[in-house]
Subunit: 178 residues, 4 copies
């Protein structure tokens, strides 16, 4: 493990848990027994911008259901693993498929099932309100809570370190309902 | 009433109110007149883990409706009492059915209808934002508010006291959408 | 205007605005163009208890729609005025119908359309996050914000002043999904 | 750029972004893949009042969908541009159509796609939780966050500066569900 500023500039893939990271952990149950989640528009903007600039974005979640699929389809995320309960195994397969070294991967998780994949990557990060074990295992703890812009924060950190973050005059990006 | 650390290690059943405990007390009314509630994924994870490790989980609530049933079915909670307005009576029946002594039961409530069952059990607990009478009647007040992880907190306290909490390398558990 | 403690004990009718009082002001718009609101279970409990003990409860709101009606039907509130834009006129009609003097009425509002009815009653009150003019016009400002228990707080204040608040051993009340 | 108090009194058009301004940035995804947003009743009241007093209100958003259209139809906003990814171009067209000079326009945005239109107008403003670049580019930063009354705050600032804000005794306005 080297210098943080140098290491964050090595990241070219961003892997995200959903509940507690892209959301505040809230799961709204509908009368029909479906689930709804609330996402954050600033996170969505950063994910869209990162993809356009050539970063890999991936989702690995134990959750499932249409309200996950719809969101990630809208943003155009190509690597989405739902209903996934062996996160480390899935992460390794993803790295192999995309020819990624662990030090090129940032993983953001919030709870104990994320610990194994976080130990594997070079840049484990978490929201302000992650479980204590996860905070302990992280190289960077966002000041933002899950669902309140923590994903935007870490993507922006990576992109600024590599000089890719939005500059005024950049061509606008199209984000499906953000 | 003995030493807190000793007493919490006696708990093998966790009984929960819903509104204000598993939620922030919010009830979203749909245009069709149904109700929706927002649960917390960290609470869900802890309930699933506790059940797998052999704890009894039970819900006793004055609420009713599909958005309650669906959530608890998904987590696989076997003892769910909805539309229940005599909570103490129901709790006693549950204890008899499962052959539980009051000191083996933790009850988490947030409002005055929970006072009677809280007086009955050995380990009455509440969220940070419970009604003052309920705070007064509790042996432990979580730092987390209803719907923001207070259930996770108290389940984790019990399981750590008994050495059952998640350890890295534990087999992953399957939580239906958490 | 007399002593606060004496005056609050005169209240036998509680009149409530909806948006920003019984909710945090949030209006969720569905894909079908309907509106949803999020209510608070502790508020619901207090409204049910107050009605059972013989208080008049009334709602006067500029809002309309099924998600209002359903909620107040569930709690059994008899005096509900929706789509109401002349709040003072409506309040006066209500007082006449129920033979109430202004000093027997508590009115809780959060925004400038509530100022006129608040000037009329003996006990104008508001949530912590009411508009500054409304705070100025109130005899009591709850420490709780709209939708976070401010209605529970003021109903409890009235009922405690009159010795009607919940005591352990009271017969349980039935609240439709709280 | 002149004196703030003088400049804010020149405003006769208020142009608003949606996500993060009229909402907290939250996008709730339904099981059918639709989007829901949560608006604030105090913002709605101020928008309705401003329109009745002759201000121009406009929405320019990258988002789209029925839950946007419905909300702005209900309030009666005439100038709504959805699915808009070239905000500056759209803003200029609006100014031309309504014969507005940049110094007569207030623009409230929260994120980097809002920077270009904010540079164009005389009165760029933002919510408390806007992106740092947007805070930097603003002449006024509301103490309120997106979706928590920041739009109400800035509309009220303009209307007070021009003597148009609500006075007791004003004829009530009709706001469709606020």
């Amino acid at each position: 493990m080297g210098n943080f500023k140098e290491d964050i500039a090595k990241v070219r893939a961003i892997v995200l848990d959903v509940d507690g990271v892209l959301t505040d952990g809230g799961i709204i149950v509908t009368p029909d027994g479906d689930f709804m989640r609330k996402y954050n528009s600033k996170d969505g903007y950063a994910m869209s911008l990162a993809q356009r600039k050539g970063y890999y974005l991936a989702i690995i979640t134990g959750g499932r259901g249409n309200c996950l699929k719809v969101r990630f389809d809208a943003i155009g995320i190509q690597h989405v693993y739902m209903d996934c309960h062996e996160k480390l195994k899935t992460l390794k397969q993803l790295c192999e498929k995309l020819d990624l070294q662990p030090e090129e991967v940032m993983y953001m998780g919030d709870d104990v099932p994320d610990l194994e994949p976080m130990r594997y990557v070079g840049m484990p990060v978490c929201p302000a309100d992650a479980a204590p074990e996860v905070v302990e295992a992280s190289r960077y703890v966002s000041q933002f809570r899950g669902g309140e812009g923590c994903v935007r924060d870490v993507i922006e950190q990576v992109m600024r370190a590599r000089g890719d973050w939005y500059k005024e005059g950049d061509e606008p990006i199209r984000v499906a309902s953000r």
